[in-house]
């Protein structure tokens, strides 16, 4: 009883804080003299990436399956969500609504949530159909299967004439007027969904079901022997991740107001995988940090012109070489993690010098031994 009350208070406080931040962000966005449009855009994209990366971590991190087609689910969510808000408005409301700034907060939020739900369900359904047979496969075969699935989704999107084909979709023309994808996504919803997904993941990790996921990662045969229905858990993780990714896609498309096959390509899936592995496979905090890092880093390097992507790829390689287990390993940021950092002399500067020392040793040693 007391716990429920505390939880309700925490949720209410979070919603209130996010709502307050939303006011700040929209103020920043709408005042051109502050030049904050670009940073706010990066912030939104980073939060959407967080949602997608944390969901992928459920499959690749917790359950130890290797999906490389997550952008397909993201894309299915984006395309379905956009189709709903553009094509179905007329059917649902009798006339074409100019959903956006003019309509009320409740209506546009409601439509956004509906789009997320439908996009997520479409992705989850596809995830179920794809996952049920393919999760019998192990390791690299599953990986390549999901790559193949992603490629097929991209080809279908390329040939979807009703939604722009290869050029991408930003709305339909009725006469000369463009019925665009309505700008429904606000900081409030993106942040709230991101927080919800993170909390859900961390709680899941501690729950019985989360332990079942992790036991499959550690040893599938042993898990099976302990009576864990492995196929059911694998499909559950896959479908749940697909649902969240689909919802993230719907959020994305109502923020960017366009989606094209390039946005859901296999390269984007690879990017999600890199976020999760870089942060630390199986760590929710890692997925969050990885997603933020990989969204912000390419933008932060922008002043280097065409060298930006070269520097980015070198940083990626070096990071993996010095820290193969990812930034966080499997740890979560929390009390235990903090204590571990403080113990001994492992402060951040000490760690950095330690890494450089070990890298140096590695090269020096090789030279000596050869």
């Amino acid at each position: 009883m007391k716990r429920t009350l505390v939880n309700i208070l925490i949720v209410a406080a979070t919603v209130a804080i996010v709502f307050g931040l939303d006011k700040v962000v929209s103020r920043l966005q709408n005042d051109p003299s502050l030049h904050a449009g670009y940073p706010v855009r990066i912030l939104m994209l980073a939060l959407i990436a967080v949602i997608a990366a944390v969901s992928l971590n459920l499959v690749n991190g917790f359950t130890g399956q290797f999906s490389m087609g997550h952008a397909a689910f993201y894309g299915i969510g984006a395309y379905t969500g956009a189709a709903l808000t553009v094509f179905a408005q007329k059917q649902l409301f009798g006339h074409i609504l100019a959903i956006g700034e003019e309509t009320g907060w409740w209506l546009s939020s409601g439509v956004l949530l509906l789009a997320m739900l439908v996009g997520g369900l479409a992705a989850a359904l596809t995830g179920f159909v794809v996952g049920l047979p393919s999760l019998k496969l192990r390791g690299d075969y599953l990986a390549i299967m999901t790559v193949g699935f992603n490629m097929i989704v991209v080809v279908i999107a390329n040939n979807l004439k009703e939604m722009g084909g290869a050029a991408g979709f930003n709305g339909v023309y009725v006469g000369d007027t463009l019925i665009g994808i309505p700008p429904l996504t606000t900081f409030f919803w993106v942040a709230l969904v991101a927080i919800a997904v993170v909390v859900l993941s961390i709680n899941l990790r501690r729950s019985v079901h989360g332990l079942a996921f992790e036991s499959i990662r550690e040893d599938e045969i042993a898990a099976e022997a302990m009576g864990i229905p492995t196929t059911r858990y694998k499909v559950t993780a896959f479908v749940l991740a697909a649902f969240i990714a689909g919802a993230a896609g719907a959020l994305y498309v109502h923020f960017d107001l366009r989606v094209s096959p390039a946005d859901i390509d296999f390269i984007v899936s690879i990017n999600f995988v890199v976020m999760v592995v870089l942060g630390g496979l199986g760590s929710v905090s890692g997925a969050v940090i990885g997603a933020i890092l990989l969204t912000v880093l390419p933008e932060a390097l922008r002043m280097n012109g065409s060298y930006r992507l070269v520097i980015y790829s070198i940083m990626l390689i070096v990071l993996m070489l010095v820290r193969p287990q990812g930034i966080f390993g499997r740890d979560e940021i929390g009390r235990a993690w903090m204590l571990k950092q403080v113990q001994g002399t492992k402060t951040l500067p000490a760690r950095i010098s330690g890494w450089t020392a070990s890298l140096f040793d590695r090269f020096a040693h090789r030279r000596l031994s050869s």
Binding site: I152, L309, V310, M320
Partner: protein, 315 residues
Amino acid sequence: MQHPFEHFLQQIVFGLQAGSTYALIALGYTMVYGVLRLINFAHGDVYMVGMYITVLSVRAIYLHHWISPSWEMLCIVLLLSMIGCGLLGVIIERLAYRPLRKAPRLAALITAIGVSLLLENTGNLDSVFGSSPLTCKDVLPGGHTDFNIGGVLIERNYLVIFVATIVLLAILWFVVSKTRLGRAMRAVSQDVDAASLMGVNTNKVISFTFFVGSALAGAAGCLFASMTPNSINPYIGILPGVKAFVAAVLGGIGNIPGAAVGGFLMGLAESLVVAYGPLIHLGNGYNDAAAFAILILILLFRPTGLFGRGITEKV
């Protein structure tokens, strides 16, 4: 208008031509996977570098009038890009994969992706290859003449690609099955630790594997760039790379003959979908999907590929 059966044979010819490239690239994937259990994502980009080596060296040859288009010229650029790509492969393995040999497998996969991005983005710099598409000047005189064999048209250049592929496959087969180094390679792919206990220098063998695999990708790049009219750009290696990997999986990854067969099957499937897809209302661009759809079907019914052996998991 061709007779329907001639039309079909024509598609088979096209498929074998496209399949040659896939087979050569797929071999590199499968060999590296065999010894390291690593999906070498940078392999498609090594193929791209092979194309650039060819195009740029052909340009240099034309500029200085060293030799005119001839078989010698083809041999020279082929050797150049094979050696160049082979060395590139060895360097990549040394710097990016070897330090992670004992690390979790996914870490090496991420560095492979990093190397792939590095090659693409470095190639895209104006000071390296530049982002504007390039085409290759003629390497063989009159290569675009067609042979007409019973109503089926075969361009001479494409015949060169096909024959060169078969020759390279034969050489590879000889190296892998008849030489000491080849035997060492097979030993390492069966069990790295046991091979090393038997006195095999595993590092040397792995370097050699990367050299051979990348040299084959270089050969594929050279043949594709110099024999077909396609223009090249630094990102051209991605899609053929992924498809060749699929071809390797199709044949059973780690299995060398399987990769070659998988490559040819992939090419055939694509050309048949291009030719007959419109009959069942599949638009342009579905040839990419067809390859993957076939892959998914095969994996569902034969999860270890066509020629892969099932691995029984020990508890």
